[in-house]
Symmetry: C2
Subunit: 336 residues, 2 copies
């Protein structure tokens, strides 16, 4: 009996928002792993902004772009179903860069084992995975929030943003989240302990910042870019630190990117804007996971996952990353 491996392959490079027609849904016979490789049954696939870069052919990316015909690349967790690598055995839980498919065969050296006793598998794509490492080191190392300072985070209801705000609260800062929609804003203040939330879809962000951050913004952790970044630039405190984590508002631009027109406020306020990339913090991942795992266990930190069930829903789920409809870390459940 041949097992078929269903998968999404890149059919063409998306122009603007990715469409279902940009992908082929295919099925190929499942192979055994060659020497040094491991066959992993994919359990959960993380739906990340980085994927938008992988399917484009820009030369200015952090990662090698995918080729047409490649299985869609994805950060994922799963279980080993066959192993030709000495470090991995059938049944091990693992995390790594796998594919949007039922099974991925991958060099064992590119996988890391995870301990499912510590937390459910989805947590390893969220607080104990890349979003957690990004939030933890991005905020604490690049943002350096001090107790009593005002921290603003955009994309605050997203995976990284919701963790950033909670870590800032744990460190004694006053925290304002910017998100789209009343439900998300309510979640930030009522469930996650943010001091204030600004609904950028309904509110004038500049006016709301004047109200909620009367002494200015000491740290801004930006996942969004565009008009939100420009509004915050006008409310910086002297010596402010802006951490640029991403710019979800800009990734599907067909035309030119929009830069922050108010960037000269960096001069006026002697402020710093620093870009961060999670891979720089990867060697210290265990440090973040240990601290964040403790906060999760004690209930100080709440991690939210928005799980869509079923591999076949990948294209619509990918679109949801950009339409603001998800609440917490967006992921796809491929196997239970």
């Amino acid at each position: 009996m041949t097992t078929l491996n269903h998968q999404f392959r890149l059919a063409r490079r998306p122009v603007g928002l990715p469409q279902r027609s940009d992908f082929d849904y295919a099925a190929t016979p499942l192979q055994a792993p060659a020497e040094g490789k491991v066959q992993v049954q994919v359990a959960y696939v993380s739906i990340d902004p980085a994927m938008r870069g992988w399917v484009s052919d820009s030369e200015d990316l952090y990662d090698v772009p995918m080729a047409i015909g490649d299985v869609m690349r994805a950060v994922a967790v799963g279980r080993v179903t066959a192993s030709a690598h000495p470090r991995f055995a059938v049944g091990d839980s693992v995390a790594g860069i796998l594919g949007v498919e039922e099974y991925t065969i991958v060099p064992g050296d590119n996988l890391r084992k995870i301990d499912p006793a510590l937390a459910p598998l989805p947590a390893f794509l969220n607080a104990l995975g890349m979003p957690g490492i990004t939030a933890y080191f991005g905020l604490l190392e690049a943002g350096q929030p001090q107790a009593g300072e005002t921290v603003v985070v955009s994309g605050a209801a997203g995976a990284v943003g919701s963790l950033v705000g909670q870590i800032a609260k744990i460190k004694g800062a006053r925290v304002i989240g910017i998100a789209g929609g009343a439900d998300k804003c309510r979640m930030l203040t009522e469930e996650l302990g943010f001091d204030a939330a600004i609904d950028y879809k309904r509110e004038d962000v500049a006016a709301a910042l004047r109200q909620h951050a009367p002494k200015g913004v000491d740290v801004f952790f930006d996942n969004v870019g565009g008009a939100v970044l420009d509004a915050v630039l006008l409310r910086l405190a002297v010596g402010a630190r802006i951490v640029i984590c991403g710019a979800i508002s800009q990734y599907n631009n067909v035309g030119a990117m929009t830069g922050p027109a108010n960037y000269l406020q960096l001069v006026v306020k002697r402020a710093t804007m620093r870009g961060i990339l999670v891979r720089d913090f990867a060697p210290r991942a265990l440090e973040a996971a240990t601290v964040m795992g403790g906060w999760l266990a004690s209930g100080q930190l709440k991690a939210r996952e928005d799980v869509v069930v079923g591999l076949e829903h990948f294209p619509e789920t990918f679109q949801r990353l950009f339409d603001g409809s998800h609440n917490g870390k967006l992921m796809l459940q491929v196997a239970p």
Copy 2:
């Protein structure tokens, strides 16, 4: 006999490039200084980008804007001609914020004495003044160039830029200047010791950077903004530091400012963009002046001044700040 004090007053706020008609050329009887004040005969007036901010009514400035009818504010040096302040005597050489006029009466507490034995008066508006302090601390503290690194400076033939490049050379960096015009570029490489110069008016800056900075740009000291900043952003080395000192390309914009469209390269290259303001370094001015004075005396540092003679030429001289026709620190000689 009444001495008349000729002066330029702000008649209206310039729209775009400042015009002669934006100023009134007036003469008022010279007064004696009141208690605590000093009467200074203005010798040299510094023509600075900051003046463009002072005559606008933007709320986002470092300084209080001038009111209509005010004497044009200027950083200047001069000699005390009458004193009602215990620290100053007739004949003292002084520096401070004075006016574009023949005599300014100013609180003595706002003046500092300068030693004309150290250097000619114009030097105190250049290497031993604000441009020198800006270049010295902006480059060394915010830019942190290391020996062997590649440093790029825009506005490289200007007051601050020409000092930045020379200081970077003294510190062992490879230095590329960006300036407008073949004469300026020749001056940078042949007189000031820059390793390379890029003429942004004739050359494709991105292509020239690929040639002159094959390993990327470690430090970028930006006085210009606009397209030049965007071009350098695409050539950053990992961990690059961008020092934002100003954006002369943007100050006369009637419409919106243009932000750096390529700012997400800060993420790709884990780079930092930091705004500096000379006033933060003012308490350490003596440190910079001492070191720079030594370099000037030994000939390691060359300071160039572009001196226009005659108070009446202020409006055209102010315009020259923006048309790129000056070579070195632009100033107006009001009295010999």
